[in-house]
Structure formats: C-alpha cells, structure tokens
Symmetry: C2
Subunit: 367 residues, 2 copies
Amino acid sequence: MSDIAEVYRHRIERVRAAMSERGVDAVMLSAGHDLPYLTGYEAMPLERLTMLVVDQHRVPTLLIPRLEVARVEPLDGVFELQPWDETDDPVALAASLAREARTVAIGDQMWARFLVELLGKLPGVEYRRAVEVVGPLRMRKDDAEIAALAAAGAAVDRIAAQLQAGEIPLVGRTEAEVSADLSARIVAEGHDRVNFAIVAAGENAASPHHHAGARVIGEDEIVLCDFGGTMKGYCSDTTRCVVTGAIPAEIAEAYEILHTAQRAAVAAATVGTACSQVDRAARQVIEDAGYGEYFVHRTGHGIGLEEHEDPYIVDGNDLALEHGHAFSVEPGIYVPGRWGMRLEDIVVATADGPVSMNNSDHHLISV
Amino acid sequence: MSDIAEVYRHRIERVRAAMSERGVDAVMLSAGHDLPYLTGYEAMPLERLTMLVVDQHRVPTLLIPRLEVARVEPLDGVFELQPWDETDDPVALAASLAREARTVAIGDQMWARFLVELLGKLPGVEYRRAVEVVGPLRMRKDDAEIAALAAAGAAVDRIAAQLQAGEIPLVGRTEAEVSADLSARIVAEGHDRVNFAIVAAGENAASPHHHAGARVIGEDEIVLCDFGGTMKGYCSDTTRCVVTGAIPAEIAEAYEILHTAQRAAVAAATVGTACSQVDRAARQVIEDAGYGEYFVHRTGHGIGLEEHEDPYIVDGNDLALEHGHAFSVEPGIYVPGRWGMRLEDIVVATADGPVSMNNSDHHLISV
C-alpha cells in the first residue's frame, strides 16, 4: 500500500472508531471536504451524485457517475468504485448500500436534494451530521497539514507585504480592479485557486463581506483587503488594512484598539482554552474601548481543506482547543456609513503555544 | 412597486399556486438558484444560513446573517428581511417560521447539514424537493430570459470563432494554459464569471469531464474545448473541437456522424416532443453508425440561471418540451485511450421550432 493510501486508510479507521463510539452505522459523503479528506477525491457539486458510503463491514464504496471515473485516482484498499450509468437511480444505489443502517451521518455540504430522496428510500432512519464523526479528526491537523497551512499563509503574506510596500496601486483604481490584481497575485504566489479577494474602501469597509465593486479608491481612505486561496488542498486567509495617505486620528486610535484585541485573542489561543474564551479575549478589549457595538461578527473560524470549518471562535462554543486546531483570529470594528477595519491571521494551537501562520506587518500602514 | 419587484412578486405568486396544487405548505430556499429566481438575491454557500421561507399567509421571510444584510437589495412587497445574530440558531428560526407546515419543500442545493437539523426541529413533516414547485416555472424561460441566453451564447460563439480561426494558440501550450486563455476570453466577452473551460487534447478528449492539465498539445491532434460562463445571471455553454493540422480519416468520419446526430437532435427538439425522444434522435444516429458504446452520457441538460437544471435530455425522461424550455444538445463519441469529440449548442424549444443559441461553425476545422 502506498504511503498516501496509508494516510487515507488510517483516517477511515479513525472515522470508524468515532462511528462506533457515537452509534453511527453509516456515513454518506458527497460534495464537500470530508470526501477528499478520506479519499483524496473531490466531487464536483453536480446533479449527478457522487457518494462515499462508509460502514464497519466492507471497504468503503464510492458511487460515481461513470463519466467521472477517469478523474478518480484509485487507491487500493481505501475505497472501491461503483460507477453508475445515466439511467440508473444513484440515490437508490446509495440507499441499498446503507439498507441495514439505523443511524446515518450525512456530509454537511451534500446537496439537500439527495437527502430528501434518501428520506423516502430509507424510512425510519435517524439522520445526523457527519461532522460529528469526521469533524473532530479534521480539526486536529497533523504536521503535514500544518506545514501546508504555513506555506499557504506565507504566500498570502508576500502579497500583504506588496500591499503594505505600496506595490499594489490603489488610488484611482476601482475596488474590483484591485480585487482582480490580488487574485492574480494569489495564483502567482503558488495557490491552485482563489477563494476570495475582498477589497473595501472607506465606508464600504464597514460591510464585513463587501463585494468589491465599481467604487474608485481615493486619497486618505482606509482600504481593507481580505484574501485567500487554496494551495495543495489547504486554505489561506488574511486581512490587512492600509490607508491611502494620511491616517485620520480617529482611525489610528481605533486601529490601536483592534491590534491590541487581535494580539490578546492570539495569546489566549492556547491548548485547553475554550473557543468562546478566545472570542471573549478580543471582544473584551474592543468593548472596554467603547467600540463593542461595532464588532458585529464572531472572532474566527476554523480553516484547513475548507475556508470555514470547525472550530468556530464564537461566544457559546465551549470546545477546548487542542494541539493542531487551526483557525482565524480576525476581530473587526465597523462604523456603518463611515469606515471599517479588520486584522486577521490564521493561528494554530500547539503544545508550545499559539503559532501564527501569518506574519506580515500588523500595523496600519500609510501607502 | 418597481418593475423588477413586480417580476419577482409574480414569480412568487406562481410558486404559491404550484404549492396549492401539490399540497406543499412551505418552501425553504437557501444556496442555489431558486432563491435568486424569486428574490434577485444569491446566497453565498456558507455555514451561516440564508433561507427564504415562502408560505401562503405572509410576505416571504428572508432569514439572513446580519453581516450579509448590506449585500441584499431590498424589494418591498417581495420579501421581508429577518437578520439573525452570531449567537442565534438560524435553523430554529427557520423551523419556527414553518411550524404549522405539514409538507415542506426544500431547495435542491441547500447544504444537507441544515436539513439534518430541520429534521430534528420539525418532526413528522413530509419533505419534498422544491424543484417540484419552482422547477416547472424556471424551465419555461420568458422572452427576457431567452434574450439573456442568446446574448451569453453569442459571447461564447465569438470565442469559438477565434478558436476556429486559429487565433487561440494551441500547439506547444498545455491544456491548462489554453483553459486559462479561454477563461480570460469568457470574461473579456462580457461574462460576469467563468463556470468552466474544459480543454482536452488527443486521448484526454475521451474523458468527457477531463480536467485541463499539464499535457502539452501537439500537432495533428483533436482538441475539445467546452466552455461557458454566467452573463447577467444566465449561463452559456458550448463545445467545439478543432484539429491541430491534418484531420485523420477515422476522426473525420466519426465527426460526420457526430454532426449528423447533433443536427438530428436539434431538429427533434420541438414543442411537445419528449426529452427522451430528443436523446433518442442523437443516439440512434450514433448507434446506427456503430459508435453506440462510445456515447456514454445523456444528450443534454437544461440551462438558465444554472449550468445544469431541468429539463434533462436523457432516456427515461418523458417530460414533453414546452415553449421556452432551454437545454444543451451535446452528443459525444469517446474512444478510451485514443480520442474523443463532442458538439454542443444550447437550444430553446419555441412555438416556431427549435432555436439555437449557438451558431459558430459546426464543422471540424483544421487550425
């Protein structure tokens, strides 16, 4: 068995152990990232169903449209292919593979249409989320995964440095033009694909998920850039803000608070600390400074094969961080109609303390 | 009420009529294309739930993460926004909106995680696919939608013409480089985004969904290019093959059969004809010529807001074509390990007969 097959086989064994513990008889995975985590194969989200069925009894079966078979890298002992033809009913085939299961766990991002059809074909089954059995494994990144996150992080850091050095023109360009520029750099720095490149200037920066548009960037404005991609399967994600010219006193002051909050949350992200406490560490600084109402989102999200995955750094999440948990720490301050700012690194909790995957300058720089 | 609000309001009324007919009490839509069809708003597929709940009693409610609110274009009388906060349970809010429903129809592309959670919060409910009530409406394109498909089709036709005129270098470049070139042209010709740009040379063309890779295109090879994007919400999709140099007799002969099959299926695509019969028209020609085993996929898929939607042109689909149905007609012949070919146009069934949205040269051209 090849080394890579051994990695996947081991992961499947750990999923099976988690299934036993939690009383899950079968796991069904389709579009989404659990499938590549266990097989190396990423299904296109399509109306033609691709589905891995894992139980305790046999080699996992990968149901796949026959015309996708050529795209699969076979891995002996990891899974067996079961191609289906254009006039077959793939959901019936999947139901048949799980016909003895009383509890079935479903991949998060499978299209609901397939689950609706399964409900009719496997009545009386209890459905759960596969994240129960796959999520805890995916959360704990191994050394190779941490190295992949670090490499992707270093790539976006190089772009952040270009931004901060004034090498990416801003004034006179539209947000959309700068976003396209960032996207090209994400690929040029070694990513396989761009996941997003938010560029928000001035008052637009007050919308955390602003869609880069036709607004032209002017002088003396804050410009928020939040960008990332996927490199060898693992995601990058960083946010830096710059100002085109003089930094207004109000913005400089708020940024100091933001920077302090971000540092506090990174420092709090030690093994054993609850995710909610990491969120609290950032939020407390911002609340104490009187900006609490302007920090309108959670402090962070897990990251790995997926841009957003467990663990979420949010109030109410009592999960304790473990060695290998990877997540963003990205507090923000958003004053509607006026300006916004966010500072974001990817951080990995380790036995030696929190390690940042992003190390470009954390200050608000005038370009 | 604005004109555009009137379009959406009218669509929602037709969905409600279909719900009454089919005994559906509530429709829940999230990621996917039913939501923009009814509201103009496209939800990012995210772990933060966006969901439109439509029933017979009140203005549809759009549950939305508070930090996405700024991205929504409000449409009075079409829907009401209900923002939720980071520590709310949005699935519980959705369940509460549908608490009196006994039959709930779920959007096809909603992430299954949300349906798994709904199952626990709305027990005893019968779940169906929303395509039952929204699909028939979306299938029948109105004049504005047909015009949008025609404009997107004309844009990819211009690229096909560039390919056929030899203006897109092939020999010596990798498939991936040509794919990137096609992608840039898709945007340059007016699309908002690229959906795919398959480039498959020689034996790679035998894999219908080949992923453009590092293979360098050589002389005297067939090169299959299948590409499309989204322009003002509506999709394009066309396939043309060219040969880099001399066309081998075997390939020329097979292409004649393919061309005849494609023409036969387009001609068969009249109002009232079953989708299965359109598939049969293409397949019969290819089978009669002895290539039946090499035509491994359905003849086509519907297209509109989505690249693949109803109606599917496939054996077993007895749906009769109606005025405004839009779909691909794309037979192929794939000889494993040797070569492949496909010829694809988007066609709209109309009262005046089938109308092709793609009109670039249908012949196999040597470049």
